[in-house]
């Protein structure tokens, strides 16, 4: 991966856009739909892959920050193209306490819907969305693929949401 690719212009769905609904597997044979969370702020973290070092740090960090998200009433979803069994092993190994969804069939379909797919590499971008209680995107952020974007932007966006 070259650095020019890493700083690609953001094609992410912009704030003010209705967040497209989707249904994905969050565990083997168990579906989950975004619309189930209507009425709650939602944080979506698209990330390239389970197990890769930077993702590990990012996902591990969000797992630690969960109480802060919960204080703000928000639910966190992680999405990558990894399959549900891979997510299951990853979540167990890292003691993750939030849902990882499998955008694996058709591959990257939800990432594409949100403008967060990296076709050349066959993975999703490292992209963050904060969706308000009405299901409208309030904030989005495309991180350089190898940089852990942290959680400060997410918390700031959640704190700005109308109560």
């Amino acid at each position: 991966m070259s650095d020019t690719q890493a700083t690609a212009v953001s094609g992410l769905l912009a704030p003010g856009t209705k967040a497209p609904d989707f249904t994905l597997q969050f565990a083997p044979h168990q579906d989950f739909s975004l619309s189930e969370l209507r009425g709650k702020p939602v944080v979506i973290a698209f990330y390239p892959a389970d197990w890769s070092p930077t993702c590990g740090d990012q996902i591990g960090l969000y797992n630690e920050v969960l109480p802060e998200f919960e204080k703000l009433g928000a639910e966190l979803l992680g999405i990558s193209v990894d399959g549900p069994w891979c997510h299951k092993a990853f979540a167990e190994a890292r003691h993750l306490h939030f849902r990882l969804l499998s955008d694996s069939e058709p591959k990257g379909a939800v990432a594409r819907l949100y403008g967060a797919y990296r076709g050349a590499d066959g993975i999703s971008e490292r992209a963050l969305f904060v969706i308000d209680r009405d299901g409208v995107i309030a904030w989005s952020y495309l991180s350089p693929i190898r940089t852990n974007p942290g959680a400060d932007g997410i918390l700031e966006a959640l704190e700005k949401l109308p109560r």
Partner: protein, 182 residues
């Protein structure tokens, strides 16, 4: 560029003079091997800069990844309440590979701290909120792993090695001096 959201205050653990040219602030986790590696580097930097450097330590325990990190941070806070924060901070890093309940008591005993009171503080969560407050300020300041350093309030993203940190601190001192004479 990420900036420190909560400025250094009397509530912080500080080494070095308040009017030092440079402030190096670390968000660290006593069970994190990278923090352990950075620990002697910071000591060398403090020796090199002397009174020109102020060092501040804040807690950033990754509790899910490191099962003893939160209790270790609370043990250091307990020591702080007895005026021995830095001695405990150093002992925790020097004993990183064996952190755990018995070791916390042993280290407290080494520092002549009341071990029964430590047990009660850990069980009662006396310092839990204090540690969480550090964690929260770190997350909001863009801390995305440990250790994360801030130099005069700006996040330092370079390698945590002596030479690189030295250069960054030198540069910050130069800037601070320029700003003071302008």
């Amino acid at each position: 560029m990420s900036m420190l959201k909560v400025p250094v205050s009397a509530a912080d653990h500080v080494q070095g003079p308040e009017d030092a040219a440079v402030t190096l602030l670390e968000y660290g986790d006593y069970e994190c091997p990278f923090c352990r590696m950075a620990y002697p580097v910071v000591k060398r930097l403090q020796k090199h800069f002397g009174e020109r450097l102020r060092f501040v330590f804040r807690n950033f325990p990754l509790r899910e990844m490191h099962p003893h990190a939160q209790a270790a941070a609370e043990t250091a806070e307990f020591a702080a309440a007895h005026g021995k924060f830095w001695a405990m901070h150093d002992l925790l890093y020097e004993n990183q590979e064996r952190l755990g309940g018995d070791v916390f008591l042993e280290l407290a005993d080494d520092l002549k701290l009341p071990t029964l009171a430590l047990t009660q503080a850990l069980e009662g969560g006396q310092f839990t909120a204090r540690v969480r407050a550090d964690f929260g300020s770190g997350v909001r300041s863009g801390v995305n792993g440990t250790p994360t350093f801030f130099i005069n309030g700006l996040r330092y993203d370079g390698p945590n090695e002596f030479a690189e940190l030295l250069a960054a601190l030198d540069e910050a001192a130069e800037w601070a001096q320029k700003a003071a004479t302008d």
